[in-house]
Symmetry: C2
Subunit: 451 residues, 2 copies
Amino acid sequence: MTYFMRKLLMKNLSINNPAMKKLNLLAIPLLYVLMPSVAFAAGGDDIHAELSGILLSMFYLVLSAQVLGWLMSHFGQPRVIGQLLAGVLVGPSLLSLVHVNVTLQAIAEFGAIFLMFAVGLENRLRDLLAVGKEAVIVALLGITLPMLGGYAFGYFHDLSQIQSIFIGTTMVATSVGITAQVLNNLGVINSKYARIILGAAVIDDILGLAILGVVSGMASGEKISAIGVATTLGISLGFVFAVLLVGVPLINRIQSHLSAKKLSGGFGLVISLSLGFAAMSGVVGLAPIIGAFLIGMVLAEVSDNYDFHDKVHAIESFLAPVFFAMVGVQLPLALLADSAVLFNGAVLTIIAILGKWLGGLAIAPQQGMVIANKVGVGMIPRGEVGLIVVGVGLSTNLIDDKLFAEIVVMIIATTILAPIVLRMLIKPPTDPAPPHRLKEDDLGTADGKGI
Amino acid sequence: MTYFMRKLLMKNLSINNPAMKKLNLLAIPLLYVLMPSVAFAAGGDDIHAELSGILLSMFYLVLSAQVLGWLMSHFGQPRVIGQLLAGVLVGPSLLSLVHVNVTLQAIAEFGAIFLMFAVGLENRLRDLLAVGKEAVIVALLGITLPMLGGYAFGYFHDLSQIQSIFIGTTMVATSVGITAQVLNNLGVINSKYARIILGAAVIDDILGLAILGVVSGMASGEKISAIGVATTLGISLGFVFAVLLVGVPLINRIQSHLSAKKLSGGFGLVISLSLGFAAMSGVVGLAPIIGAFLIGMVLAEVSDNYDFHDKVHAIESFLAPVFFAMVGVQLPLALLADSAVLFNGAVLTIIAILGKWLGGLAIAPQQGMVIANKVGVGMIPRGEVGLIVVGVGLSTNLIDDKLFAEIVVMIIATTILAPIVLRMLIKPPTDPAPPHRLKEDDLGTADGKGI
């Protein structure tokens, strides 16, 4: 008994202490919602307390991301914005329930990996190659103009060359998911301009990721040397082409030798492949998401025939919101009250909007101004891919907190504004076709992916 | 250029180095399979290298667990054994590709949480309450006898009281998954003895987890005091009853107010609930898996009506093998060559077999010796639940490496032996009904859960 009492005094703040446990049971869970930092600070450094802390953090992240994501979609806004705000809410800036640590970052990275793997699964190489001339024009201008704009922004702010290029990179990707969702909800997903937007958006995603591969590779060299750039460029392009040009024919060749049954139990193999190519991508110096995206594109060749699609989406819908929330956790809210950050964020937003919009207008001579205008606006949202790119920049220390916040302002603004303007431009057809779920044929991406 | 050369010399082993990257691309991935420790030892302590290491470890764990699990099931053995051996293979004992760290342990814990959540989803409270008298007799004896045997083992080896009780606890759980799979494959899942086995196994799982709750709670007090035991017991039982007795009526009450549509999008909510109750379970001092299992049982009330089932299984079939592999990673292979460990493991195996088998024989007076014998053998495999229990013991430092290895020997032996003997005892019906997938009505558990 004396021993027990001494224990009680010594560890009276520990969550593993029987007396505290009694208190814990009596106290409503809200108590833990309000003051977990006390419980965990006292938990000491033992592994058990650490695991409890991670579990509780994951709970806060998943719950808040799901609730705020749902709220956003309820008000017609992209889920991903809600998930980001959820991270800001539970992160150090506000409730301080969740703090950055390696484990949470790793889990968030798995979220990004499975998200990009799922996006890859929706995009077949042959569909991309079949996309019309207009989509290619829009895509290429939609890369060049924001890239130049971002670089100019960096140049005028005396940022390093690599940082300037990185800013441009965050503006390259167009969120296929968000655009497709809006077009789908309006029942115009099969219109010509919708196909141009989606085709161009997919091309921008792929090229944006390839550019990210080069930039993140160069980031490790700190200074840019001709050899370094050439090496990185060679490796990035080599990896992309190796996976696609070897993988796609290969999987089509072995496809006929595999029975549907055999592969239906092969979900574990599919997961292994996505993790393996993500890891390999990391080993050759690219961001892991690039490998996951590429192997997703390879598996897209056979995904119609096998049933791993829904399972991948299940894992993704669990982990991807954690990724977006973790971006929010890392966003210092105080910086958003900094007028310089807001001003720069607004400038970046204007550059981001103009870059994509002018790219769309380039097809006005062939398609007319009305269609070109819709295409231009449809390309504006940066959404989840923008967040993934900026996340890579933060984790590789390529950008500081301030620049991170400015870029996030741009991503949030474009992602929220574009759907609103797009809805105003597109009147639903007079005899509106009922909105239908996207199918593979629609060239887009699934709307079930938690965006 | 000079800068670049200096960098190259300074970081010539770093995986982020452009020159190494070039080498990496040229080297076949096999090189990394063979010597990742070199690459990662050189990676230094920066977060990027750490994330790469975690990603690569996860790849090794998932791939090896899937391949060896598949091989085992191909030879008619339980998958879970293959997943365990996969961990031994890639762990420090053999290939040394994967080492224990907090992140991998956390991911493994999420695997155990989703596994037990999925098991809970298969077990409705009312089905349990409806199970016959025989199942209850078999279950209670199947708890008491191994518990006494395990305690006696500890007593004769001068182990502490709490360790002795823990050994008994590892022998309490019967693997519903493995037994159900064998019975299902033989096409006898609807026979009377099959129902007795499955009913008793489910009861043992629940009571085993409740006992684990008490033991893991007491473990933090190190010495057993009357107040400590009473407090822990009160909290454990209070938590179990609170969740079940409040949760089950509550969900049945609100069920009619929820449209199927509303909840079909509620997968995120389901995940939040499982994480939340796991975390709460940890906060009150129980193992997190207990909370996950209980909320699974609550949601089982409505799981027929909504579509979250397959999604939970998808997450589980990704993460649960990681858990089993991590048990293997933590198993020091050298200890298995220690004759004392093997001898003690054999003794524990005999206790574990006798305890459950005699429990089954107790119904011979009512059901006859033939049925009683089959029931007794059917209760023997400890499988995944045994591994989960022993994993909790290891992570709370309740047992040392040697005792851990001895208990794992017992779990592996019972899990491999029981299905073999059961197959010999049960001749398939003369006009065999085609084996069918288990349904909820079969009172068992799904066979698709990666066991």
